[in-house]
């Protein structure tokens, strides 16, 4: 589904200095797979996601989605950002309808579909609210509905629950799994939380810092559908979390300058 082939990214950090953010990343993600990109802050995991989204170009290498080279954003790859990135001048309904309108869906149909999606993310009754009137968790629900609205087959989630409190985060993780188990979209999920990655993913791609490179890929062999309560008591879940946390603490391989 997604083939990341030898992608590197260098940024100009001013005064002629160049910063290597991503060094030779190669990764394949299968259709319907839930893959987390796990790494410390500054390891370039978000940059990698933006490259797959087509929002920024790679310096070298390429990303292929369904065999076609990514050259820009497409409604087939829907992003969800940590900062929500909702349109503040649009209501909840207006935000969710934006993508439907861009897809040329008739207004009446778009309204009906948007209402369905809003109900699906448990925000029924909030259609006419502005984002600023909602809590962080509710905003992220709107953002997820807005992205699901235009029917992407791939979700690109950039630390979507990173700014939420623990309780809200757990609820949204459960809701996300529920939605994902229903229509099995391909998900690329960036996070720095080990527990979150293990709970959600089929595979975890661990990245190391400066320059960002793939350190390890770990398959998470836990039964689905997953429930948080069961997993927390599950020995295998605990082992995954502990082992991965240990791996993360290991010093990164020799930084190259």
């Amino acid at each position: 589904m997604i083939a990341i082939a030898s992608v590197t990214k260098t940024f100009d950090s001013g005064k002629g200095r160049r910063h290597l953010a991503l060094a030779d990343i190669s990764l394949d993600i299968a259709a319907g797979e839930f893959v987390s990109i796990l790494g410390p802050s500054g390891c370039g995991k978000s940059t990698l996601l933006y490259i797959v989204g087509g929002f920024i170009p790679p310096s070298t290498g390429a990303v292929l989605v369904k065999g076609a080279r990514v050259s820009g954003p497409s409604p087939d790859r829907g992003p969800v950002f940590q900062e929500f990135a909702l349109f503040p001048w649009k209501t909840v309904l207006g935000n969710v309808m934006y993508g439907l309108e861009r897809q040329g869906v008739r207004r009446a149909q778009a309204t009906a579909r948007a209402r369905e999606l809003i109900a699906m993310v448990h925000l029924g009754g909030y259609e006419s609210f502005y984002p600023k009137e909602l809590s962080g968790g509710m905003k992220q629900r709107v953002a997820i509905a807005r992205t699901l609205a235009y029917g992407p087959s791939i979700l690109l989630m950039d630390e979507p629950f990173g700014s939420l409190d623990a309780h809200t985060r757990t609820r949204l993780q459960n809701d996300l799994l529920e939605i994902w188990e229903r229509d099995r979209k391909t998900v690329m999920f960036v996070t720095h939380s080990v527990e979150e990655a293990v709970f959600l993913s089929d595979r975890i791609v661990m990245m190391s810092r400066s320059p960002g490179r793939v350190k390890d890929v770990i398959a998470i062999d836990l039964p689905r559908p997953r429930s948080r309560a069961d997993l927390l008591l599950d020995r295998r879940f605990q082992d995954y979390v502990v082992n991965i946390e240990r791996l993360m603490e290991e010093p990164a391989p020799e930084p190259r300058r």
Partner: protein, 257 residues
């Protein structure tokens, strides 16, 4: 209760300096430093002002000034916002216009007025042109900077939903920059008040600025102050109207309050 009295208290506090200035004016007028024929007492001026508000001829002059002000301001908004958005939307437009703006912005526009009179005549057009020339720059700069500073993830969200670059510019970047654009417009509105009056003072046969100059030339000091107070009252009303429009346009933005 408290929420109700807070704006009232602010208005009361705000009126104190204005009343102090009027009181100072009264003291100076009574002290005899300046003869009443040159510096009339505030009471005399305000009585005359109320009289003039009942005079159709006077209101006609005020309407003329207001018409020129609105025409100039409206053209400045359209031109400034269009160019400002185009500068952000297209690198080429930006490269072409930026030096021109840098060269023209510091020019005292009043110096162009003789040229405007010669080319556009003594009537409305030359005065409106001067208002446009002065008001367009704050709007243009606020628009180009505001649109350039819009969070890229807002644009990415729109592009991923299937919006074209142009549509993204018009339906996301432009509204997202609205708080900044309106700040530029507010400054431009004050400038418009000043410039239209100035233009009428220099060369005109009607309008508030003309009334002031005519009164001054005839040593009618009371009539000299009346247009001055009228334009400041108009400014106050325009600002209140502007704020009402701004609150409507910025519904949903945190900046609205």
């Amino acid at each position: 209760m408290k929420a109700l009295t807070a704006p009232l208290a602010a208005a009361l506090i705000g009126s104190v300096p204005i009343l102090l200035i009027i009181a100072l004016w009264q003291v100076i007028a009574m002290s005899g430093i300046a003869p009443p024929s040159l510096l009339p007492a505030p009471g005399t001026v305000f009585t005359r002002l109320l009289q003039q508000f009942g005079s159709l001829a006077y209101l006609d002059h005020a309407a003329t000034t207001l018409g020129r002000l609105f025409a100039g301001f409206a053209i400045a908004v359209v031109v400034g916002v269009t160019l400002g958005v185009a500068m952000t939307g297209s690198r080429w437009v930006g490269a072409a216009i930026t030096p021109l703006v840098r060269v023209l912005a510091p020019v005292p526009k009043i110096a162009l007025y003789p040229a405007f009179i010669l080319t556009l005549g003594f009537e409305d057009a030359s005065k409106i042109a001067l208002v446009v020339a002065d008001a367009v720059f704050p709007i243009l700069l606020a628009t180009s900077q505001g649109t350039a500073a819009v969070e890229p993830k807002l644009a990415w969200s729109a592009l991923a939903a299937g919006a074209s670059r142009l549509r993204c510019l018009l339906t996301v970047i432009l509204p997202a920059a609205l708080p900044s654009i309106l700040t530029g417009c507010r400054i431009a509105l004050v400038i418009s008040c000043i410039v239209v009056f100035l233009a009428e003072m220099i060369t005109s046969t009607d309008g508030l600025g003309h009334l002031l100059v005519r009164a001054a030339r005839n040593f009618q000091s009371v009539d000299m102050f009346v247009p001055l107070i009228t334009i400041s009252l108009l400014g106050l009303l325009l600002n209140a109207g502007f704020n009402a429009v701004r609150r409507r346009l910025l519904a949903g933005f945190p900046e609205a309050d």
